[in-house]
Structures are given as C-alpha cells and as structure tokens.
Amino acid sequence: MRALEPWVIDPLQTFLDESSARLTLLMTSSGQVVAQHGFSRSLDVMTAAALGAGIVASTDELARLMGATRFGALVHHGVRQSCMLSAFGTPRGRWIGLVVFGPETSVGIVQLFFDQMVEQLVTIAPREQAPAPVLAENFEGELNASLKALFGRQ
C-alpha cells in the first residue's frame, strides 16, 4: 500500500485488513491519486483513477437531473470481482474511493469498513488551506511526481 500523505496510511491499512479488498484507490474528485493498494502498474492506476472520477462525475450529473442528492456509492457486481465507487467529503475537498473486492468478502463488509475509514480520514485530516488549482503546465509534472511516490520511486 502506498500513500502520498502519511496520515492516510493507518486508516487505509485498517480498511484493507478488515475488508479484504483486493485493489483500492483513493483519489481527489479530479482523479489525482492520493493512495493505492494492489495495483502493480502505474498505467493501471492512472486509467482507473480517470475512469473512476469520470463515472462519479457522470452519476453526480444524473442525480442532479433526477433532482436527487448525490449518490452515496455505486457498486458494480461481477462474477469474480466486484467494484465499489464512493465519493466523500474531507477537509481536503471531495475524494473518491474505488475498491475492487472478491467473493471472499461482501459489499456489506466493504461498505461498513469504508465508511469507518472515511470517518477516520475526516477526523485526522490536517486542516490546511485548500491547495491552489494546478495549472495545466504543472499538471503533468505533478502527476508524474505522484505516480513515482505511489510506486516507490521518490
């Protein structure tokens, strides 16, 4: 498990231990990765983050059209693996969790411990001023730096 910010590590590790999740990605709502577990290729992380953020944005828009509040979580049930996407507020802005799990656990367990992790993250997140928006010219550099940290190449 790798995280860009050390305060994320303990809550995420507890979630992984309790939920038996196979893959986990925490990212900002713009798809910038905060932490990952189980991915072995940076390309997979980038792709999953982009797709996850896109799916959440689409369903937010769907909820708005329906006149509903945002959906709490999306679960896609597969034959061998299932996937949960859940967006949540933190003092650092809106984050998204993408969790892939197999039949050795259940969506109930994953959601239960995911929500506990979110509570812990919200409680312990450092209260800092929101970071300035990343300019396009800085974006690629920031992304590469994040991926290096997430795969141990500091």
Binding site: E18, S40, R80, G102, P103, E104, G152, R153
Partner: protein, 284 residues
C-alpha cells in the same frame, strides 16, 4: 544477462521497494537462476507480506528447487491472501498429485476451474487425474521412496513442526480425538481427526476453512457491543458443530451427529478445550 533482466535489475536497484521484483524474480526463475530468483522474491515479500503475487512467486521458485514443503506453505499463504488464486490452487493440486493424494489434487483443481473457467489446462489435468484415480486403489498411494519427502500428503504433520510433541491434544479424553480438531490461526491442524465414511479424513480441509474465524467472531461481537466471544454452535441437518478458542491463537472444532443434543456437544467441546489448553501449555 538478457536486456529484460538487466532493465528490471536496474529498476529494482534504483527503487528497492518497487514491485519490479515480481517480474525480475519470474524472469530469473524461467532462466533457471533459482538462487538469484529466490533472493529477489524474498526481498520483495519482506516488503510486501500481504501481496499474494509475492508468495505465489516464492512457491514457484521453491517448487523448482525441489522444496515441496516450502512451496506448499507459500502457496497456502497466497491462498490465504487471495482464496481464488488459480495459480496457487493449481500449484497445490500439483503437489498433492506428486504425493499421491489424488482426491485432494482433484478438489483443488475443481476450485481452480471455478475460479478460472477459461483456463483449458485445468480440465485436462482433471481428466488425467480422475482417470488415474479410477485405475488406482481407493485412497492415496504411499509416496514413492525415491521422490523427495512429500509434505503435501501430510500438510500438517501429526508431530507439528512448531516443536510440540507427538501426543494428541485430546489424548486424555475418553471420547478420544475423533470428531475434534485443534487448528492454529493460519488454518493448520495441530491435532485431532475428522473423518466420514463418504469422504475419509478431511481434517486438513476443514481446518483450512477455519483460518481467521476467531478473529472474525471477535470482530463481530466487539463491533456490536457484545464483548468477547466464547463459542459458536452450528446446527445442520447432518450434524452439529461447536467452535471455541482454547487460546487466542487456536480454534477448537467439535463435530457430532444429530443424535447428541447440542448442549452435550457444548460440554464435550469445553472438556476438549481444557485438554487442548493443557497440551498447548505443556508443549509451548
């Protein structure tokens, strides 16, 4: 040294915590450089003890080196982390086949087939083993003396390698040890037996299902505000089970048919748990 191995070696040297150890270890193994592969894999496993891929890689290397006991343990670890891992199921099936335990080999291959129905090698292996099983005498053959020691036929030795002695944990009980299992936290049998006329000895198989049970029961009662757990009773149409934890690291299973009231099975389990605790203290 091939370009691929060179490039992976450089990558790992630059960043020792990279997951490149998986590709590098496998590449070295395929080239027959097993010592080097093992060092790389072990280094990676120490950094990522929860990564099933790492255990799987170590198992393949140990299997190639002829350390079948080590390979069995490593594939078991991989399965504990990822119960549907096809490669580990196939690996363990192979080890059981080598040891002559065709029933266990078939069971693991069937699980692998469920996990990966597209893998065509599995049905072929199953057909071959079933054909051999039909031709051979009932039950596992004794291992060939010329082969390396076949630990999979005794995946949990009757004399556990944790230093405990040869006496059964339930030796002092008048009921004996049949229908009682003492299992450690990794799902390995410490003592006792469980057999049926239909399936034969299945203590190890059942023990594997109990890995992590104590932790899960403790978690459920803790999070629901019920305190520490002390036993689980399960009634089925075919029998009754009682589970308890003689120590923090062990689980005891007592199984009886429906002729015995559940409360009596519970008393039996309590006596067995006391006997197991005494045995564990003595053997520690």
């Amino acid at each position: 040294m091939t370009d691929n191995i060179r490039s992976l070696t450089s990558r790992l040297a630059e960043e020792p915590s990279s997951l490149a150890f998986l590709e590098l270890g496998e590449a070295l193994r395929q080239r027959g450089q097993l010592e080097a592969a093992y060092k790389v894999a072990r280094g990676g496993q120490n950094r990522y003890p929860g990564l099933a891929d790492a255990h799987d890689l170590i198992a393949r290397i140990l299997s190639d080196q002829g350390d079948l006991a080590g390979a069995f343990d490593a594939w078991s670890d991989a399965l504990r982390l990822d119960p549907l891992r096809t490669s580990a199921l196939k690996g363990i099936a192979f080890l059981y086949y080598r040891a002559g335990d065709l029933l266990a080999a078939v069971e693991h291959l069937e699980r692998a087939a469920e996990s990966d129905p597209d893998d065509e090698s599995i049905p072929r292996a199953l057909a071959r083993i079933r054909s051999e099983a039909r031709r051979s005498a009932p039950g596992p053959r004794p291992p060939d003396a010329s082969e390396p020691a076949p630990p999979p036929s005794e995946p949990v030795p009757e004399e556990p390698t944790n230093g405990a002695g040869s006496e059964s944990p339930f030796g002092a009980l008048e009921e004996g040890e049949h229908g009682l299992l003492l299992v450690d936290s990794n799902g390995l049998r410490l003592g006792g037996t469980l057999t049926t006329s239909a399936e034969g000895e299945m203590g190890d198989r059942v023990a594997a299902q109990l890995a992590g049970l104590s932790r899960e029961a403790a978690r459920a009662t803790r999070l629901l505000g019920l305190g520490a757990w002390h036993s689980i009773s399960v009634e089925t149409p075919e029998g009754q089970l009682v589970l308890s934890a003689p120590t923090a690291e062990t689980v005891l299973l007592a199984v009886r048919d429906r002729s015995l009231p559940m409360a009596r099975v519970g008393l039996l389990a309590e006596r067995a748990a006391r006997a197991a605790r005494t045995w564990l203290e003595r053997e520690a």
